[in-house]
């Protein structure tokens, strides 16, 4: 079909789209911000309630972020705010993008840096030595460790006959296709680990499995990482709600609360208290 035979209404629509794009909506902005992760808590800033406001004026967008305390680590604060600006700037049809961090001890420094697109070093000057890549990588590794522990603990809970050390033999293909596995695969991919079915689940940051004698300790250490991240995520949610009453309605509950208790699936022998 040639353009000459195109119905007039369709042609008019195409023409209209070409010169007058769909206006940006708040939904578009929030969906974009869904991909901005708090590196420390391993959750989207939208789920945490960190997005305080979205204001659209024509094609321009202004987003304000808020954090649980004035003294949240400024490097993480900067990472989230600059990631937010990056994902919004990448939106089609967007005009001027303004991202501001409210009520932080370094709000002035961070907001000026963001407005000027000064980058990390340009924002923090003498306090910035090189970049935040290694910091981000450190927390991507922790996020993987925690996801690994969640999957393996769930695996053990579902198989009461298995000894703890049996996790050494668990490969990705053994895990049920659930949200825990999806989260693990995503975090493995982020730090460059294989996601094939035959890959071992319990691995160190470089993807190497542990020797048999270290398996229990490795799982135990991974557990302390998971507990730490979960605990921080809950505390930060609570503090945000205390600091900004009403912000709790913007928060999605953290899913780990839904884990089955260990006792529901395993037998144990507990020590008696003397």
């Amino acid at each position: 079909m040639g353009t000459t035979t195109m119905p007039a209404a369709v042609a008019a629509t195409l023409h209209w789209e070409a010169v007058t794009p769909e206006p940006l909506t708040e939904g578009d902005v929030l969906r974009a911000l869904d991909s901005v992760i708090d590196p420390e808590l391993d959750e989207p800033i939208t789920d945490l309630g960190f997005v305080r406001s979205v204001t659209l004026t024509g094609a321009s967008v202004e987003v304000h972020l808020r954090l649980p305390t004035s003294f949240c680590a400024p490097n993480f604060a900067y990472l989230m705010a600059s990631d937010a600006k990056d994902v919004l700037t990448a939106l089609r049809n967007v005009g001027v993008v303004t991202v501001e961090l409210d009520d932080h001890h370094d709000s002035d420094i961070i907001n000026s840096g963001l407005a000027a697109d000064a980058g990390y070093k340009g924002t923090f000057l003498h306090e910035a030595e090189s970049d935040l890549d290694e910091l981000r990588a450190t927390f991507q590794r922790k996020a993987h460790t925690a996801a690994m522990e969640r999957s393996l603990t769930a695996f053990l809970r579902a198989r009461p006959e298995l000894a703890e050390t049996a996790v050494a033999n668990v490969v990705l293909g053994d895990l049920p296709d659930d949200s825990a596995k999806a989260a693990l695969l995503k975090r493995r991919a982020t730090i460059g680990l294989s996601t094939v079915d035959s890959a071992s689940v319990l691995v160190d940051d470089s993807g190497s499995p542990y020797p048999a004698a270290s398996v229990a300790l490795a799982l135990r250490r991974a557990r302390s990482t998971r507990i730490s991240i979960d605990g921080n995520a809950h505390f930060c949610r609570g503090l945000l709600a205390t600091r900004y009453p009403g912000s709790e309605v913007d928060q999605l509950p953290r899913t780990e609360e839904n884990f089955l208790p260990l006792s529901s699936v395993i037998r144990t022998h507990r020590r008696k208290i003397a």
Binding site: P74, F124, P160, R221, R223, G238, L262, R270, I273
Partner: protein, 347 residues
């Protein structure tokens, strides 16, 4: 002394403060931001009956301190751990003169620890010598996130910090309490990184390093370091009040600590005036690891007695009535304690 169900508990509150965060003492907006952050911690984690109005939270004074700690709070001995925060407060956050006067008025019940800042160089070393003599220092409180001119933090393994540790050793200051606040320098690294404690503890094996908040928000890094260094201890400041709001999380913290560092190296504190000791002590004595958390053994009464006071009393040579003393657990100096407690190992 706290008594419940025929058991007596000797109580040492190992981290208390007399602070002044009233507006007239605030140097700038950060003074307000700092106390507001503390107040949100207090408001978020306290039972409704223990929550103070904001105005009361800004300053308590000696009379209220004595009532909250000793009259109402069951505490036998409390240890001041003052944060200076000279960039935020005109006379500092911790009130040195007031706290030291109170210590002198209450012999045997209070220990005054002071602080130093390695960025004060040679002059600071002289000051530490004078402070050690005046306050009879056994310990110091270090806040690595302290702002100082254009520096916003330091590390325990900085060369100048080592100079101060060497002087501590010479002056008989053996207990180094470390508060890992959000340390901005180096900004490229994790602000709560505790790796510097590892270096310092390895190089100064004759000093005790008590990591406050048990390393939170980096419990895992703290446990990993502390399990390898026999002179690293955990202070429960800030961790304690989770016993009310998030008891299952508190149970996991306690379970992890007892597994990784053992019952002899954990110290109770209220972190007064962030919280008051009375309700924390009552709740802790009543506390038990939930039965469904089979990865952890139950906490014993003996472990609670050590954590609530005997561990800190031992570190500070605080006399404890003979009938309340307990021997140290016969545990490995390094590595996980009682590995049979490991998750699922008993299956």
């Amino acid at each position: 002394m706290y008594q419940k169900d025929g058991e007596s508990y000797f109580i040492v509150d190992a981290h208390v403060a007399l602070w002044d965060a009233r507006p007239e003492n605030q140097r700038n907006i950060h003074g307000k931001q700092f106390i507001d952050c503390f107040y949100d911690y207090h408001a978020n984690l306290s039972p409704a009956s223990e929550k103070w109005p904001y105005e009361e939270y800004l300053y308590q004074g000696g009379e209220r301190f004595i009532k909250d700690i000793f009259t109402d709070g069951y505490v036998d001995h409390a240890i001041f751990q003052p944060a200076h925060l000279g960039e935020f407060y005109k006379t500092g956050f911790g009130q040195t003169e007031e706290a030291f006067a109170l210590t002198q008025e209450n012999p045997g019940r209070l220990t005054y620890n002071h602080n130093f800042d390695p960025r004060n160089g040679e002059a600071g070393l002289d000051q530490l010598r004078a402070d050690a003599e005046r306050f009879n220092l056994k310990g110091v409180k270090l806040y690595t996130a302290e702002w100082h001119g254009d520096s916003r933090g330091y590390k325990l393994n900085d060369p100048w910090t080592y100079r101060y540790f060497e002087l501590c050793r010479e002056l008989g200051i053996r207990n180094i309490h470390v508060h890992k606040g959000p340390t901005i320098r180096p900004l490229d690294r994790d602000a709560f990184d505790v790796a510097d404690v590892d270096h310092a503890a390895t190089d100064f094996t004759d000093l005790n390093f008590i990591v406050e908040h048990v390393g939170l928000p980096r419990l895992e890094d703290f446990c990993w370091i502390a399990t390898q260094e026999p002179n690293v201890h955990g202070g429960l400041a800030v961790a304690m009040p989770f016993i009310h709001t998030r008891p299952r999380y508190f149970a996991q913290i306690m379970g992890e600590l007892i597994y990784w560092i053992g019952e002899d190296r954990i110290q109770f504190s209220s972190d007064y005036a962030l919280w008051t000791p009375r309700w924390l002590i009552e709740a802790f004595v009543d506390f038990q690891i939930p039965e469904d958390m089979t990865e952890y053994a139950p906490i014993t009464i003996e472990q609670k007695r050590k954590i609530l006071g005997l561990n800190a009393a031992k570190m500070y040579d605080i006399p404890v009535p003979v009938e309340l003393q307990l021997p140290s657990a016969d545990e490995t100096a390094t590595g996980p304690r009682q590995p049979e407690r490991a998750d699922l190992a008993a299956v």
